[in-house]
Symmetry: C2
Subunit: 400 residues, 2 copies
């Protein structure tokens, strides 16, 4: 029997407890031994909940119990999760977490500590909720050079964009409804400004390229400027608008960006609707693979934590290696990134547009007094220069 503890009996923590309890027989069968949750740490009491029997209020009970081989850190936030994780790893206990903030900030350090103490620090649930992506990157794609990762990594924004597309509504209207339904937070900034997706692509890019990508280095734009008119243009193009979190290796340069993109139906991410997430990985040998599922939610996220628990249980006394050095990966300025741009201008003089922007694809008759067009490929710097010179740009969305 493998004994485990859960730090934090919130949404994810209680989900972890539920998955281990409900799927006990399956887990025991597949693993060859039972996983028992010996402790759950929480400051609160849960009268009437069976968890009460294993509830403790002091982390020391868990850290000092040599029987505990695996700790699930489902507290979230940086402190005291960081200190508890560090102490658990230092006592040779593997830690499985859903805490993307901690992973993004201290991942390489905690992996190193785990390695020194022959245990593991796993964090499948920190990106993409219930979608297996971190383990596939580490195992199924270990033989590949990863050329790019493009993710729809935030369910709230994808839900809002899907609703805007389907119902022709304004961003503010859909956001308000999403808040009513609990699909968006009261303070939705972390989602709608792209910060959540940014942290997640920082983690995935670090794993893909082996060095630390700081989320502060990633240019991040949210979806707050996207309008119903933008969707009308996208529809005319046979396309849609998605918030992409993206990183690309081009020669010896790395680019990263979180921003809305115009996406056509030939891209498998085009069909990812509502709160679902997906990650498209492009490799130098096997080409494109995509991973799709629920990017959030109690049981989906908890299930991913428990997958890590089973992996640790299969490798007790052994470090599951994750290549993620503390050395910083240099992210090149976005100026050099090459792509097409969809531009709306308060001008309908096609000749003038072509003189400035080159051989563009025009979209007219959507709104009086303006038009939209898709440029040829150019660098971000070139686009910015042209746009500044042209002057009457209403909005720009990058084209994937």
């Amino acid at each position: 029997m493998i004994k485990a503890a859960i730090l934090g009996y919130g949404t994810v923590g209680s989900g972890v407890y539920e998955v281990i309890r409900k799927n006990r027989d399956i887990i025991t069968d597949r693993l060859g031994e039972e996983i028992q949750v010996k402790y759950v740490l929480d400051l609160r009491e849960f009268e009437g909940d069976p968890v009460q029997e294993v509830l403790v209020h002091d982390a020391d009970t868990i850290i000092n119990d040599a029987e505990i081989a695996i700790v699930c850190e489902t507290m979230g936030g940086e402190h005291p999760a960081y200190e508890f994780t560090k102490r658990a790893l230092e006592s040779g206990k593997s830690v499985c977490t859903s805490n993307k903030e901690l992973v993004e900030k201290h991942g390489p350090e905690l992996i190193k500590i785990a390695k020194e103490h022959k245990c593991s620090y796993l964090f499948e649930a920190s990106v993409g909720g219930g979608i297996p992506i971190i383990r596939p990157l580490r195992t199924s794609l270990a033989q590949e050079e990863i050329l790019s990762i493009t993710g729809i990594l935030n369910g709230t924004t994808n839900y809002i964009l899907t609703k805007m597309e389907n119902e022709g509504l304004a961003f503010e209207t859909v956001l308000a409804r999403a808040q009513e339904k609990g699909y968006a937070e009261k303070n939705p900034d972390a989602d709608i400004l792209g910060y959540d997706a940014c942290r997640k692509i920082a983690i995935l890019s670090s794993l893909a390229y082996g060095k630390k990508v700081n989320f502060e280095d990633i240019t991040t734009e949210g979806i707050t400027a996207i309008t119903a008119v933008d969707f009308a243009y996208a529809k005319k193009m046979g396309a849609t608008i998605k918030l992409f979190a993206k990183s690309v290796k081009k020669g010896d340069k790395y680019y990263a960006l979180v921003a809305p993109f115009i996406v056509g139906p030939e891209n498998p991410l085009y069909a990812v609707k509502g709160v679902f997430n997906a990650i498209l990985v492009n490799c130098n040998m096997g080409g494109e693979t995509m991973y799709y599922g629920k990017g959030a939610g109690k049981l989906a996220t908890a299930s991913a934590v428990v997958a890590d628990v089973l992996d640790c249980a299969r490798h007790v006394g052994k470090h599951l290696d994750i290549r993620w050095e503390e050395q910083k990966l240099e992210i090149s300025p976005i100026d050099g990134a090459v792509r097409k741009f969809f531009v709306r201008v308060s001008c309908t003089d096609e000749a003038k547009i072509r003189k400035h922007f080159g051989d563009v694809e025009m979209y007219t008759d959507i709104v009086a007094g303006e038009c939209g067009f898709v440029t040829e490929e150019m660098t971000e710097a070139e686009y910015r220069e042209k746009a500044a010179k042209f002057g009457s740009v209403l909005s720009m969305i990058r084209v994937d």
Copy 2:
């Protein structure tokens, strides 16, 4: 350094050699040591190809070399692949394969031999080409009860159906063009009759449910009866037609089926176009996840074999456990499976249709003298009985 051998220098075998050679640095970095291909077994000579230096014509050289830790079996077919695999495992060498025929037939036996000799038998490449699916089933979903698997597992048929949909062409026309382009074999029966997809869903279902699913027990229908008119109806429904390979756990019963299905846009498999494959897995805790990529092709398949090689290299002297007992899984007769049916009848008498089939959704005005409708949910047996009584059924396609 880990030493490996490749059995068979055909399409996949030469791809394995290429992936290991081209991505040598990445593999060495991630694994912490180099993988060297010491031998390639093939009866032919390859003058001018660097493989010539490591080419051998006798399997004994490989089996008897204690230095060889891992063998890639990329010969295909049952014999002598079976004998070579068995002997390699018996000498403690792990075997990684793309050979779905061998895996489907002898998987449980070979896994058992591997276990006895503290080595592994891995076969990621045998299903879904370059799509990570077998490893995610074994690791990322080990904590889950799997409720259903639905796959687009054959690229040739998905290519044909996509072309029929996009261009309104007849099956025979598209097949002939696909054969010209090399997307379909000269003898395309294994693909178009569903046999290839059937073997693959047999493997996936065995892994999902832990016992042996024999492909002979799976009702299998191909795509040869699908017409341009069927696609016209599908279009009117806002849907498409896909060849699904499917297995479902319902209570203590298991159903399995390979057949064309009407698929709506709310299903993530709807958007899987052309030669791409995808597998949708539904679990009791985390819900739906989907895995998408190239289902075939030299480098995609080879890359999956090399992923297995790395897994074995990380676990030398250890058996990577795969739950797949030799005990047969009872597949229930399809009669009891419940779903909706799309039916075309040479009759336009709506009252008569409703009298026989109940509250149906009608689609008229596609072809004179006939109409189509979607039934309510009923068992396959109920449908068959109603259809036989009604008499003038032109065709039926199941609805997902």
